[in-house]
Amino acid sequence: MEILTVNNLNYFYQDGEDIRTILKDLNVSFEKGKFYTILGASGSGKTTFLALISALDEPKSGEILYKGQNIKEIGYDKYRRNAISIIFQSYNLVPYMTAVENVMIPMSITENAIPKDQRQVAYNLLDYIGITRSKADRIVNKLSGGEQQRVAIARSLASNVDIIFADEPTGNLDESLEKDMIEIFGDLAHRHDKCVIMVTHSKEIAEQSDISYHLQKGSLTRYE
């Protein structure tokens, strides 16, 4: 079932007379229960593509449909609040909060149904991605990079959304941690019926996803 559809998406940067095309008439759709990767070299526009489909930026033309409705009509903030989560390469956790407090942040922002005992839900999510109770109560700055990225993943699950975007989430992690992360993303798609879309420059990671696209010269092609 298609949950996210991109139609004729265009994006460019303009500097005076110069126009630099990033995305050109891009069409693609994504389904729940699948783990996607968007593969591309640095500067290929994959992060821009992620910013557009996660409503952090606005396309120059074209449309992005969530469950058949244009996200502009839904409202970008509302779309981000209730439909998607984003995991960033640099974790972007709130530094003075504990891991569990970080996970609880989206619970008060989303309008999706969240169990009443939010703290316990947050502990369970952290436990699911491998953060123990004692670490869950630590200020996030005291955790390792891998642990912080796990907290960021737990936070992305906290608002109970359909789509999880990940922007090079393993970029700062070593190989063993990267493997763990990819397993978690696969698990989220296959066992928890999420649509996971990851941007990466790693062909190894792309090969482990269900479907992979290659972004090159503004166009998206299936990567086999």
Partner: protein, 476 residues
């Protein structure tokens, strides 16, 4: 983890920055608190003093405007008439009004009250009395509290209307002459003529008998000035005042003018020209300014309205200086707070850019992100202002005296002893003595109001900073 909880966590977990913010707010709000306390104290002095002085008004010639008048100007000058007084008297600010006419009489049978004079051993000295004509039967001086009726009664409307020869004398005059209610006061309207050598050539007398219907005592304000006891003098004329209907004093005054016209036919004196002194009691001192404005429109521009509280303005220079200085300091402190706090908060927010980006990327409403920051700043400000309530008050007390001294230096002192009896007499010393820094509800509410509003305004810059944030630029 809603925005309120996030604000609380930020305050408690980022203690260093919260303390820096608290210190800045504390220092600036101390300046504001001190200025407000001083400003309040000077306003309280003004209010208290003006309440004591009462809201009594009269109409006077504006001497500044008539000083260059020609004889023609004086001839054509419009006198204040009873109709003018009545027109002003119906203004909404007026509680009571009256107009008075005066006539000066003497007596050969009774003594006036003046302990400084020995009439029995003074050749050519005559005791003086003056008739104070009234139109308001209740006698405005009694209504205002400038005199108290101790025996008998005030006038009836009929007595005032008919111009009956009835009156009120002071208790001292009654005492020295053993006069009682119902008895007659034997007075003399005396017109004396003088020759070129300054010798009295002739005198014309007219006997005037006033029936005593009431006895009053004038209000005596004890002058605290030690100099009064050490040789100052008191004007005893208020004790020798006889309240009578206007028609009585006008009749006696007219008789004198007529005698003058007989003696000096070319003088141009006119017995029909009435000199009246209007008197208005206002509802409250707060209505003085509006009364002045309204009444001025009903008078020629060479008249001015003088109110009893004007006496305060004449001697309150140093306190007004202190009030103005404290207001200026307050405005500067407000400006500094807005600028400094706004910049410091923006500086702190730059460190928290990623945190704010997280909230926005998660779809948090911008007003809640702004709300979190505003609540954080206001919470710190509330603590800072609360602490400064006490220290600011102490600073105000400590600096007030030197500010008053500066005020005396800047405005000059009028602190000379005033030796005459005057129910509305106040000195610069009285005003300065009445000045006191107080810790009261007004001070607390104004400081919280001004302080928190200033802090709120200082968050406008940070608000704009947040509203302009683009999460994509921060996060990716």
């Amino acid at each position: 983890m809603n925005y309120l909880k996030r604000a609380l966590l930020s305050l408690t977990r980022r203690q260093g920055k919260s303390l820096i913010l608290l210190l800045i707010v504390f220092i600036l709000s101390n300046i504001m608190a001190g200025s407000i306390a001083i400003s309040q104290a000077s306003k309280n002095v003004e209010r208290t003093m003006k309440e004591q002085l009462g809201a009594n008004a009269t109409i006077e010639l504006d001497w500044e405007k008539v000083q260059n008048w020609t004889n023609d100007d004086w001839t054509n000058m419009k006198m204040i008439t009873p109709e003018d007084v009545e027109e002003i008297g119906v203004l909404p600010q007026v509680k009571y009004y009256d107009y008075n006419t005066d006539a000066y009489l003497t007596s050969t049978e009774i003594k006036n009250y003046d302990p400084n004079m020995d009439y029995e051993n003074c050749q050519g000295c005559t005791p003086y009395f003056y008739l104070r004509g009234i139109q308001y039967p209740g006698v405005l001086d009694i209504v205002k509290g400038d005199a108290t009726l101790v025996d008998g009664r005030v006038f009836t409307e009929e007595e005032v209307k008919n111009g009956d020869y009835v009156g009120l004398i002071s208790d001292k005059v009654a005492e020295v002459n053993n006069l009682h209610i119902g008895e007659l006061v034997p007075l003399v309207n005396l017109f004396q003529m003088w020759d070129n050598q300054g010798q009295m050539s002739n005198e014309i007398r007219r006997d005037v008998l006033i029936e005593i219907i009431g006895i009053y005592t004038p209000k005596i304000v004890e002058n605290q000035d030690q100099n009064l006891k050490e040789g100052g003098w008191i004007d005893y004329s208020l004790f020798n005042r006889v309240y009578v209907p206007n028609k009585v004093s006008l009749a006696e005054s007219r008789w004198q003018t007529e005698q003058y016209m007989i003696q000096y036919p070319d003088s141009g004196a006119n017995p029909d020209q009435i000199y009246i002194t209007p008197s208005f009691v206002l509802n409250s001192p707060e209505e003085v300014e509006s009364f002045k404005n309204d009444a001025k429109t009903l008078l020629p521009d060479y008249y001015k309205i003088t109110v009893s509280s004007d006496a305060y303005d004449a001697v309150a220079g140093p306190i007004k200086f202190v009030g103005q200085l404290s207001n200026t300091i307050l405005y500067v402190a407000i400006g500094a707070t807005i600028l400094i706090l706004g910049l410091v908060v923006i500086l702190f927010l730059r460190d928290r850019k990623h945190e704010l980006g997280v909230y926005l990327a998660l779809g948090e409403r911008k007003w809640k992100v702004v709300g979190q920051i505003v609540i954080e700043v206001l919470a710190v400000a509330f603590i800072g202002i609360t602490l400064s309530l006490f220290s600011g008050n102490s600073i105000a007390e400590a600096t007030s005296q030197s500010m008053i001294d500066m005020g005396v230096g800047a405005t000059g002192t009028t602190d000379q002893p005033i030796y005459y009896y005057n129910p509305t007499n106040i000195s610069q010393e009285d005003v300065i003595n009445a000045y006191a820094i107080e810790f009261n509800l007004d001070y607390v509410l104004i400081l919280y109001g001004v302080g928190l509003t200033t802090v709120l305004v200082s968050t406008v810059g940070p608000m704009i900073y947040i509203l302009r944030l683009k999460p994509k630029k921060i996060m990716m």
